[in-house]
Amino acid sequence: MTFFAVDGLTMRFGGLTALDNVSFEVDRGMIFSIIGPNGSGKSTAFNCISGIYQPTAGEIHFEGERISGLAPHLIGRRGIARTFQNIELFGTESTIDNLMLGRHQHMKSGLWSGVAMLGSASSAAREEIENRERVEWILELLDLVRVRDRPVGELPYGTQKRVELARALAMEPKLLLVDEPSAGMNADERAEVGVRMRELRGELDMTILLIEHHVQLAIGLADRVLALNFGKPIACGAPEEIRQHPEVIKAYLGDG
């Protein structure tokens, strides 16, 4: 059973075809990277995978189950977490509360247990404390302990990107979708991103699906690469192959 498979994914918005018959497979523990110039459909693919868009055609399977066509929250609960290219945090909430949202599907407290939270012995209170402790290690891993209680809207861009990642990790996903983690960063920061991705895969046994505009970073990190252009797949294979692939070079540099 393939861990994660996209088969013939097509996404059309009215007259615009954003994705055209895209297929690829990801094995467990892999870092798989999707590259392509702006507008090639990379984020659209992520949006289809996480259920924000309903694909026009094609199927997506995760751990043997069909997930294409499911509502986003069901896909999240199956163990797929994502970050967004433009940061989509809960701006008025603190860092820790953003992470606690990641724990949503692992917690149970509902209307009545929430209302009846009297004292620290109640089930809702215990659940809160437990889960807060569970996410402490993520704060440490991503160097967010200092900003634990600050509203994320006030944090600098780089820190916000780390919070996005932390929030996704708090979901304890099996598959992590990372959308342009190095956007807006300089060379040093990009190197850090690379290190961090490898750490996640190595220490947390995470499977990572990565959208990366910066080709060097993508090639350096990934086990396999898919290149898109205008929504169409133009090459898929080992990083070295892709780097030298004539179509890929043409897509990035343009014709002639």
Partner: protein
């Protein structure tokens, strides 16, 4: 019976169409759903009343004063208040216009009290005229005509005058418009002024029909919104059509089914239409890109 019902339906529909048009004009340009439109119009009707009774002027002066007042009120509200909002989210804009509406309502009630007053009007509400063998109230006919003419003028203005085209440009793409030399800030202010005048005309046509009091335009505002929403908040033609449709359906319902629940029809229509088309019949919904 049917022709009378249709006539009063079209007459009521004219008012709704005017309100809907006013609302859509501002919404299209500024994404502001102007909940204050009704009470802004109501106050201008009271201004006319004041001119007619306290100052004892003629109709032309009184109505002219009302329209000028409405224009200034619209421009002023946009320029002094709306433009200065720091975080103009949809929710905040709705709340802001509601607050303004409430303040206007309070001011009108304070100054003129809640008494219902007869609104002097050149055309009587009780006279009828015979058109093609049918008796129709002269007021209905006047309303339909004036509203119709006004709407044609407004549409022509947007299509054929330089200013109107500038306003359309600002609606569609404010940045591109500004780059091309359109004074977008003035245009936005003007938009509010014009739509306020349209609302004022609706109020002046409503006042002789039902008596003048601060709640004058509540019904028309709700129905106007219903009509605008029916058509989709960004299509003036849809809004106007929605207004006429709403007026006719409502009056047909009232005449043949139940006069008691006439007004509930508007609400039901909104909910049903919005359930199937969340952006109105012709509106377009823009999704946020993530």
């Amino acid at each position: 019976m049917l022709p009378q019902v249709l006539a009063s339906g079209l007459s009521a529909g004219s008012i709704y169409a005017l309100m809907a048009l006013a609302l859509v004009i501002t919404y299209k340009t500024t994404e502001v759903p102007n909940f204050a439109q009704g009470d802004m119009a109501m106050v201008s009707a009271f201004i006319a009343y004041m001119f007619l009774t306290d100052f004892e002027t003629g109709f032309i002066l009184a109505f002219g004063a009302a329209l000028v007042f409405a224009f200034l009120l619209g421009v002023g509200f946009e320029g002094l208040v709306l433009r200065r909002m720091r975080n103009p989210t949809h929710l905040n804009l709705i709340i802001m216009t509601l607050g303004f509406s409430l303040a206007l309502f309070g001011l009108a009630g304070w100054k003129w009290g809640a008494d219902q007053r007869q609104f002097p009007f050149p055309v009587s509400a009780s006279e009828v005229v015979r058109l093609g063998g049918v008796s129709v109230s002269t007021l209905s006919v006047t309303t339909i005509l004036i509203a119709g003419v006004l709407m044609v003028v407004v549409f022509a203005f947007f299509r054929f005058t330089k200013l109107g085209i500038a306003m359309q440009a600002t609606q569609q793409d404010p940045i591109a418009a500004r780059i091309n030399g359109v004074p977008t800030r003035a245009v936005v202010g003007l938009t509010f002024g014009i739509s306020s005048v349209i609302g004022s005309v609706a109020a002046l046509l409503t006042a002789p029909l039902i008596t003048l009091d601060p709640t004058l335009m509540w019904d028309a505002l709700l129905k106007g919104f219903a009509a605008a929403v029916l058509g989709g908040l960004n299509t003036p033609v849809g809004a106007v059509l929605g207004g006429y449709l709403l007026g006719v359906i409502e009056n047909l319902f009232g005449a043949y089914i139940s006069v008691e629940f006439k007004s509930v029809v508007a609400f039901l229509i909104i909910v049903i239409v919005l359930w199937f088309r969340p952006s109105g019949l012709f509106g377009r919904h823009h999704e946020r890109k993530v």
